[in-house]
């Protein structure tokens, strides 16, 4: 990883851009920088990572952008030279999902594209270990990838007004879980009742559960 650049973002914020691709290795580098840089620089107030970029908020009372760039450059260069195997992986989480047409409004239509129907969709969606590229859009909304080619679908042309809390959905190479009821344009496959707090860099596996177990879990969830 050699090509990266700074970009001014605001009077108190600077952006770091790696290569503009949605790719695991590039995002792993973003996560590595997001973890390492705050430890080294006390004037760094907040780091916001995304797919191939990080936004760094710094304390303007302590430094100006020129100083920030000068101090960051050698450190970023050095970190990006480290072998990627040295970059630690995030936590591995398992999320139990009920893939049921009543809980995932788009499941039937997508299943119609496969000879094995819903079973094929479940197999394809639960097969990969997903990587959390970034959190955004809404609190706790994790952009995960990569969805296998055969299951990639475009977003709805017109977003739904109301996607229920816990919905598990896909859009292009991304998959996500809606942590709260909100509008949304992704294709809905099913729903979960319990999920952990996800962080960028974490790994996620989806596991298929039946309706009875889902109902059981929802009862527990409301009792919490």
């Amino acid at each position: 990883m050699s090509t990266w650049q700074f970009q001014s973002a605001a009077a108190d914020a600077l952006m770091i851009h790696l290569e503009p691709r949605i790719e695991l290795t590039i995002n792993a580098r973003v996560q590595q920088l997001a973890r390492s840089l705050p430890v080294k620089f006390p004037w760094l107030l907040e780091v916001v990572p995304s797919y191939h970029s990080l936004l760094l908020y710094y304390d303007v009372l302590q430094c100006d952008e020129k100083q920030v760039r000068e101090q960051l450059k050698p450190v970023v260069d050095a970190l990006l030279q480290e072998p990627l195997s040295m970059v630690s992986q995030g936590k591995l989480h398992t999320i139990e999902v009920c893939y049921d047409p009543e809980l995932g409004a788009d499941l039937h239509r997508i299943a119609a594209d496969f000879s094995g129907g819903i079973d094929d969709v479940i197999r394809l969606h639960t097969e990969p270990t997903y990587h959390v590229y970034a959190l955004g859009f809404a609190p706790g909304f994790a952009y995960m990838g990569d969805v296998v080619e055969a299951l990639r679908r475009e977003r709805h042309a017109t977003p739904r007004q109301r996607v229920p809390r816990g919905s598990v959905a896909i859009a292009g190479q991304q998959t996500a879980l809606y942590p709260q009821t909100s509008p949304g344009g992704w294709q809905l496959l099913g729903r979960a009742c319990r999920w952990p707090q996800l962080h960028a860099g974490d790994q996620v596996r989806f596991v298929s559960i039946d309706r009875a177990r889902y109902t059981e879990q929802c009862k527990d969830a409301t009792n919490d």
């Binding site: 001014s8 797919y51 809404a138």
Partner: protein
């Protein structure tokens, strides 16, 4: 510990009244936005006039039509939009600390010239912080009086610390300071984001023409309508983090300014970012008002922010 007790009962919240402190910092990596006062300058002045710390919670009142009754004696101030105010039936001035007595009714009327005012009491309103802040973010259902992001409603009772020896020192900003929002303000911006990818002629057009503030605006963002749409806009990109005040330009060539409740990531190219003061000015402009942009150097913008933070004793701490 200072005793906290009820100080104010809201009887009429108006269009939108929300509890706001300086905002929610340090959680954007989780997709949690800032919140906080849209007119940060007016908010910081209110706390300063009362001798509060810079981040004490206040009520942000949108378009006036607000009524509340003080339930005990306290000092308070209203800053921001210069709406007509009365206390116990008598006219009072904005930007000037007043003494309220238990039972006094405060009314905030409205006029079409500005959008938001801030009601602050000595010691600041109390509420339980969510992710380190009481700032109300409706979309994320965070903060506010009950923690679930709801705006204030009639009947809400707000508490504040009981401060010792509250005396009216008639604090008010120097008359040399001008808080009026100009009729057609020039908003200073710094080049940021994908600025270099916009054609030179587009960057010139951006500052040469005037824009109308549209009705499509809220605490998330403000859409502006230029006389002519910007042309040669760079293509949509992989989503990246958005700073407060960033100006995105979607394919339609009409800018959107990211305000306090903005989404944390966005995929439209950004041409510039508003400076600290310009953000507060824009926050006050009703639909239909015109603005222009003016380039400012990053060094100037940093100087302005530094001066503001020093003057108001704003302390930003690293979040980890």
């Amino acid at each position: 510990m200072t005793k906290v007790s009820e100080v104010l009962r809201v009887t009429q919240p108006g269009l939108l009244a929300t509890l706001q402190d300086f905002g929610r910092y340090g959680y954007q990596a989780l997709g949690i936005t800032h919140g906080g006062p849209m007119d940060e300058r007016a908010f910081l002045w209110a706390n300063r006039l009362l001798g509060n710390t810079y981040d004490c919670a206040q009520i942000e009142i949108t378009l006036g039509h607000f009524k509340a009754t003080f339930t005990r004696d306290c000092l308070f101030v209203v800053t921001g939009a210069d709406f007509p105010l009365t206390l116990a039936g008598q006219p009072i001035k904005a930007w000037r600390v007043s003494q309220a007595r238990a039972g006094d009714e405060l009314t905030i009327a409205s006029h079409g010239k500005a959008l938001r005012c801030y009601l602050a009491v000595a010691g600041g309103f109390s509420a339980t912080p969510v992710y380190g802040s009481v700032a109300t973010v409706l979309r994320d259902r965070l903060g506010g009086l009950r923690g679930e992001g709801a705006p204030l409603i009639a009947g809400d009772r707000l508490s504040a610390p009981e401060l010792m020896a509250q005396t009216l020192e008639s604090r008010r900003p120097s008359s040399r300071l001008n808080f009026a929002v100009p009729q057609e303000p020039e908003l200073a911006v710094v080049a940021s984001g994908q600025w270099a990818q916009f054609a030179r002629t587009t960057r010139e057009q951006f500052v040469q023409q005037s824009y109308q503030v549209s009705a499509r605006q809220d605490r998330m963002g403000i859409r502006l309508e230029g006389e002519q749409a910007l042309t040669d806009v760079p293509r949509q990109m992989i989503s990246e983090p958005l700073p407060l005040g960033a100006i995105q330009v979607p394919a339609d060539g009409q800018p959107i300014v990211m305000m306090n409740d903005h989404q944390t990531l966005g995929g439209y190219p950004k041409i510039a970012t508003l400076t600290w003061l310009s953000r507060s000015l824009l926050a006050q402009l009703p639909a239909g008002r015109r603005v222009r942009f003016r380039w400012q150097t990053l060094a100037e913008a940093q100087r302005e922010l530094r001066q503001a933070y020093r003057f108001f004793s704003v302390v930003r701490k690293p979040s980890r």
